[in-house]
């Protein structure tokens, strides 16, 4: 379903300025109610991009200078982008971002689908609702809070290490500060599944709910068992939703979970889990006071991200399945 912008005014009316003006006056209350939205997007979305006072995205192309106002900064072209290009830690952050995103696509993405298929097979309506209640709850907690829960479980004196120590004879494993790719990725993926797999399954359960029940009846009459019903009716019924969500997820490759990683990153695991967003944050507020460099890496990310999102969105739309816009 396209909820795209329908109701475009007829051609003749559009060219008529006076008539447009009359329509605007007629709907003055509508414009009044839209005013806060207009101001909001102007100040918080557009002013940061184009801004003669603070520089907007142009500051990425000017020599950072704390002592002068932005208008007097020197143009330096792509200097900060070249600087970024030569920095090894930038490429580490880039590699981590893409690596974590692909791991998420591979291992996290299918879980809500499987969970929805399993929940759909739970017979008793009350049990189903109970499981859903439990699985969805962590989604509404902040990452600070979930990291708090994780830290207690994973720390050297925690329960998980208690079990490891009992089994291995006293050797604890430091989950929270190590540079093993496997251990860090497992921690990121499992904790994100804990938080959001249940929530993610809701969209699939809704797709399942909209499958024509007569299909199941017909299949059952023909002697199909539950596995066959799930494989030949339920799965095709949610496949298109899954494909669209997969494509949209691919568009988000550069956004691999700031909140989660920011609350888990430290000096030891930085080389493995620091993503581009965390990197930009570090250079903006912690590492150096070179705001132009932070702005340049931010702009670089924003542009690539924009291209990825638009491509993904176009493909999803081409499939006729992007139902949002």
């Amino acid at each position: 379903m396209h909820v795209a912008i329908k109701g475009r005014a007829p051609r003749g009316e559009r060219s008529n300025l006076a008539q447009t003006w009359r329509r605007c006056v007629e709907h003055r209350y509508l414009f009044l109610m839209l005013l806060p939205v207009f101001v909001y997007y102007l100040l918080f979305a557009y002013a940061p991009i184009f801004n003669p006072q603070t520089g907007g995205i142009l500051m990425a192309f000017k020599q950072h200078n704390l002592t002068k106002p932005f208008s007097q900064w020197q143009w330096v072209g792509l200097k900060y982008f070249e600087m970024m290009w030569r920095k090894p830690d930038f490429w580490v952050a880039m590699r981590n971002t893409v690596g974590i995103s692909f791991a998420r696509l591979l291992f996290e993405f299918p879980v809500p689908i499987i969970l929805a298929l399993l929940l759909n097979e739970v017979r008793r309506e009350r049990s189903k609702r109970f499981y859903q209640t439990v699985f969805t709850f962590p989604n509404f907690l902040s990452w600070v809070l979930v990291v708090g829960l994780m830290r207690d479980l994973l720390q050297v004196d925690g329960v998980i290490n208690g079990v490891i120590k009992a089994l291995s004879g006293g050797v604890a494993y430091n989950f929270l500060a190590n540079d093993s790719v496997f251990s860090n990725y497992a921690m990121l993926l499992l904790s994100n599944l804990f938080k959001s797999a249940g929530w993610g399954s809701i969209i699939y359960l809704a797709s399942i709910a909209s499958i024509d029940p007569t299909l199941y009846e017909a299949a059952t009459v023909d002697g199909a068992n539950r596995w066959q019903c799930a494989w030949y009716i339920t799965w095709p019924g949610i496949k298109s939703t899954a494909v669209v969500l997969l494509i949209l997820q691919c568009g988000n490759i550069l956004n691999s979970g700031f909140d989660q990683i920011f609350n888990l990153v430290n000096g030891v695991n930085r080389s493995v889990i620091e993503t581009i967003d965390v990197y930009i944050y570090r250079y903006a507020f912690q590492q150096s006071m070179n705001q132009s460099f932070a702005a340049a890496s931010g702009l670089f990310k924003a542009v690539i991200n924009f291209a990825l999102l638009m491509t993904a969105n176009q493909i999803a739309r081409r499939l006729g399945e992007n139902k949002l816009f």
């Binding site: 912008i5 209350y29 806060p36 997007y41 709850f137 708090g148 924003a302």
Partner: protein, 306 residues
């Protein structure tokens, strides 16, 4: 012939129900295991939050409660600025949700009117912000220019509108049949009256859903406060929690030290952290039944009509 035809489905039924029962058992087993996995961190949270210092120290695998000691909660409440931060969080959540809802509802309604001039342009200008942003530093500098540094309003105004929620609500308003609006217009109502007297009651489900989403977002926010708030008295609860569990700066204030000394108790930092985590979870637990009633609708309404 007739009796044979009747016998076959019967046979089928018996065989299927046997296989069915096995499938049911397997699925129930998987569900129970998953439930335990999801609930265990919360069990551990409560367990550690009511544990005594000596029990944590002396038990290698503390998993069965030896005592239920609420001292830790008393200490958590005495943690510097804790009580104050609860006030900040409540203020931000209540005022922020109210303002967000008002602005989002008005905007969504206006954008849903098909006869609105420049509607297409306005909508595109809003949607594009979901795909392209200026980046952290240019955004931060504008916020600074607008006077948000160290202001409690930074947690309310910059996140005022969530574009995704705005679109969800707009789609819902679009699905309301236009007859009602037309008849109200004939009765002489203006657009503002139509929205608040006719449309808002009709859109109650989506408004309730979005209200809950905004409330949860405001309650859970720590990032804006971390960047902009320097005054300890303006820190929200999530930021205090972050200091505790992430920065691990268990900086016990005087009130707490005195209380501990007077009561001759020791509080394990884990217990203190988990008590604070528990207290921060409570508001979410309280609104969760409402959230659950609405969220399925919320994510579907307007967005996906499969």
């Amino acid at each position: 012939m007739a009796s044979q035809a009747a016998a076959i489905p019967k046979q089928h039924k018996i065989r299927r129900s046997l296989a069915d029962r096995i499938v049911d058992i397997v699925i129930t087993a998987i569900m129970i295991v998953l439930t335990i996995i999801v609930l265990f961190p919360f069990y551990n949270m409560l367990l550690v939050s009511v544990a005594r210092y000596e029990d944590i120290i002396s038990t290698p695998l503390y998993i069965i409660p030896k005592a239920i000691d609420l001292q830790n909660y008393r200490m958590a409440v005495l943690y510097p600025n804790f009580v104050n931060s609860v006030g900040v969080s409540l203020f931000v959540t209540l005022v922020g949700t109210g303002l967000s809802l008002l602005v989002t509802t008005m905007g969504a309604y206006v954008l849903s009117r098909k006869y609105l001039p420049f509607r297409r342009l306005a909508f595109y200008l809003i949607v594009i912000t979901m795909y392209f942003g200026a980046g952290l530093i240019p955004w931060y500098l504008v916020m600074k220019e607008l006077g948000f540094v160290d202001s409690i309003w930074v947690m309310i105004i910059p996140p005022l509108i969530n574009t995704f929620y705005l679109i969800l609500m707009r789609n819902y308003f679009e699905s309301i049949p236009p007859d009602l609006e037309e008849s109200a217009k004939i009765d002489g109502a203006n657009d503002i009256q139509i929205l608040f007297q006719v449309m808002v009651p009709l859109a109650a489900p989506i408004i309730a859903t979005i209200a809950l989403f905004y409330a949860v977002d405001r309650w859970n926010d720590w990032w804006l406060a971390m960047i902009f708030i320097q005054d300890k008295l303006k820190e929200p609860l999530q930021l205090i929690l972050r200091h505790m569990v992430v920065d691990a700066t268990i900086d016990l204030g005087n009130a707490m030290m005195n209380a501990m000394r007077d009561a001759h108790i020791q509080v394990h930092s884990r217990s203190l952290q988990m008590a604070t985590v528990t207290l921060t979870t409570i508001p979410i637990v309280v609104v969760y039944p409402f959230l659950q009633r609405y969220f399925t609708k919320g994510i579907m309404l307007g967005a996906i009509k499969a």
